[in-house]
Amino acid sequence: MALVEIRNLVKIFPLGESIFGGGATSQVRAVDDVSLDISPGETLGLVGESGSGKSTLGRLALRLIEPTSGSIKFDGGDLLAAGAGEMRRLRRDMQIIFQDPFGSLDPRMRVEEIVSEPLIIHESLSLSVRRSRVAELLRTVGLDQSAGRRFPHEFSGGQRQRIGIARALALRPRFIVADEPVSALDVSVGAQIVNLLAQLQREFGLTYLFISHSMPVVRYLATRIAVMYRGKLVEVGPTLQITTQPSHPYTRTLLEATPEVVM
């Protein structure tokens, strides 16, 4: 059974809404009738150009934004029917890693506070237990324990992304949306992060929705690939099939546009 089951999902953003709450003059269909299954343990690569609705779909899957219509099931339960309290509990199992490692960490918090925040919200642990959990998490993502006392601006982009990953892992989630986690990093650092994500998947049995515009990265990490174009899902299939025998012309364009990089 699929861990995440998305059916006929639509998200329409109004454009040019008046300050008096009048009707929007125009709208954009960011996600247009998308249906998608994500199986436990797999990495589904979601590719498409900028503005194709990939990130919107990722946030919809976590219900960080409300869809206009359609349904989302997480582990068999209707995600959109969950109340505020239940939704907060469900967040333990679903996390997100952001594209921008500079914007996604609160600049006024120490790394320790950032990584322990999910534990504070969801688990009542004593300070010493929490401290040791944070230290363990930092070690898991390849950071030194001493990083905890420092502020995010003292770290490089790759290290910050590791902090973001540690925070996402803190509650041992089952499903992680990785929203272009390496596109803001340079290639070698990005490769390290991709390898870390692959290693964590093996260790913790994670399920990824890996959003990217880079075909080589997705090809390396994903077990299946979904291609999005202008809000619509144009093609879904196993990585090998999509990369070698793409059936949709847009997928072909996307493949031809990316230079061959052996990873």
Binding site: I19, F20, G21, L62, L64, M87, R88, R89, R91, R92, Q95, I96, F98, D100, G103, S104, L105, D106, P107, R108, M109, E117, P118, I121, H122, G164, R167, L171
Partner: protein
Amino acid sequence: MSSAAISLGRTARHNPLASAGVVLVAMFAIFALFAPWIAPQDPANIDLPSRLQAPSSSHWCGTDELGRDIFSRLIYGSRISMLVGSCVVAVSLLLGLIVGSIAGYYGGGIDRFVNIVVMNAFLSFPGILLAIAFVAFRGPGIFNLVLALSLGGWVGYARLVRAQVLAAREREFVEAAKALGASDLRVIVRHILPNIIQPVIVQAAIGMAGAILAEATMSFLGLGVPPPTASWGTMLNDGRSHLFDAPHLVLFPALTVMLAVLSFNFIGDALRDFLDPRSRIEAGL
């Protein structure tokens, strides 16, 4: 933090007005806290034979029409100014933070109602007029005075906070906190407010100057603290009838009010310059 301390020191050297402001505010604060030990005489001690005396070595700022020592009364007056000023700023700030955060964070209909209806309604009256009406209705006294001045004061903070929250809630670390399952209260208090507090502090420093001036105005109109408590505004009113035969009755309280207002404005300006990275770059810090 040490680098911040260093550039704060530099700011002080590059900005003598700010240093003067800090020194003056510290002086007024010490006056307010230790008035009974600093004041040379009892501010309420009436000495009719030596009334309306010009400044001398025994009365540094002269005496008023009841023979009370003006210098001592000024020192005691700083108690009222500082107390009312800081309470007004605290109450306005608290109200402004709460209302502004709610309007900015939730947006939509709540925001439109608070921003367009409530705030504009308060802004359409001069704050001092609202305060006069309030005191006339509730009667004088420190508590009512603080409430009266906060009534018009909170809107400025609420507008500022709303605008800042509106921008901050779109930042990615706020979304990250929501994705972790943080409650709205936690997102606002732990993530948004610490990141928007700097301009609010600047506004509070400048607001302190406004509050002191407003307190003096209210006391001048007889709507402040009841006599015989010394207040700068009351002293100005008392001296009004002797403007030509004993101008020191008006001169010294007026100078004191001016200095207090100026010093808080200097501090506010300097804080704004210090916290605004663009002007720091221009100043070569």
